[in-house]
Symmetry: C2
DNA sequence: TCGTTGAGTCAACAAGTGTTGAGCGAAGTG
DNA sequence: CACTTCGCTCAACACTTGTTGACTCAACGA
């Protein structure tokens, strides 16, 4: 029987993680507005008041739950197109729920929009550096936008034509398109 | 003085249109959930109860306000890539608010998601017909996803690199990318 | 063992939501 | 002119929401 750790600190850590995990899942599925503290609490098998006590507010719960690791800088040695294809989760398994939650909320929650815009702007700047062209920034922005669109259509909207497609095949088919943007 | 038509039917038609217009604007900016009947009523300078009386429910108001004209079939004579570039509003002026409202809500409102998915699926099918290739459907889906992503990044998210770009320049830069998808 | 701490619950509040029914007053009709 | 019709408003209901404070009880330190 190792069911109950019964250590205070340990119990706290576990329930806190249970809440965060539940929050991530529901935020990812419903977005910020339609996610209720009560639903998160129920999924975490906890009283709603406890969620407030731990995180202070729904907004802070959201921020802590969907905190995305900052995007690492592009490796200058590798092909930007390949890095881009791999990075957005097209290759290295499905996207983390925190990212999905962020994307799900970005059109209707101003803070999420700001966050995503910032992240994408950064990605654009990095990519633009790796491209030498007069309109490098525009090209980079369109590359990022393409990845954004494909991810939304695939993961969040579920376009029928993409539902059955494996990430590898999507990446493969998409590659020439991105390359056309990257090169002049 | 032609300010007050004072005709009953005419008055009704006008206020109804005023409500629909206000609804479109607010739905487009805030999405379904964050849009309140009261806000729409206030913007239309009308009592909230009247909105309900005319449209029955918030959901029906949404449906009537954001009803998008069904996508016309592709003109087989024209280049699909050019049609696609022009159609999503990249060329023929900004997108109608109904479309923006639909897109704004599609990630957090299941009905809107269903509607958009259906429309995009149709678009994909049309495009796939115009492409002859083994994976025509996948290619078509990626073309539509690309347009979706660019539109979201440009109109809804406001990526800084795209904010200053004119639709013509975006279309021009994007063209080779779409063509790479359309052709083998 | 005893008092303290803190994880967790319970019940409630205050604000905002979609929605409803009664009613007012002017446009329509005879 | 009466009488009806209907566009429109007012006030309220029922419900959900985020949020709070008092309370319980087991883990903890002395």
């Amino acid at each position: 029987m190792e069911g109950t750790p019964t250590s205070r600190a340990e119990r706290r850590r576990r329930t806190e993680e249970r809440i965060l995990s539940a929050a991530r899942a529901i935020f990812a599925e419903c977005g910020f507005q339609r996610t209720t503290i009560r639903a998160v609490a129920a999924a975490a098998e906890v009283d709603p008041a406890l969620v407030m006590q731990y995180f202070g507010s729904k907004q802070e719960l959201f921020e802590q739950a969907v905190r995305i690791p900052s995007i690492p800088p592009l490796d200058g040695e590798l092909d930007p197109v390949e890095e881009l294809l791999g990075r957005i989760g097209m290759k290295t398994g499905p996207l983390p729920q925190a990212t999905l939650a962020m994307m799900r909320s970005m059109l209707t929650h101003p803070d999420a929009a700001e966050e995503v815009r910032g992240k994408l702007d950064g990605q654009v700047a990095q990519l633009a550096d790796a491209i030498d062209s007069g309109d490098a920034e525009l090209r980079a922005a369109l590359m990022v936008s393409t990845m954004l669109g494909v991810t939304i259509a695939h993961q969040l909207l579920g376009l029928t034509a993409l539902r059955g497609a494996s990430p590898e095949r999507i990446a493969e088919t998409l590659r020439p398109s991105l390359r056309a943007l990257a090169d002049g």
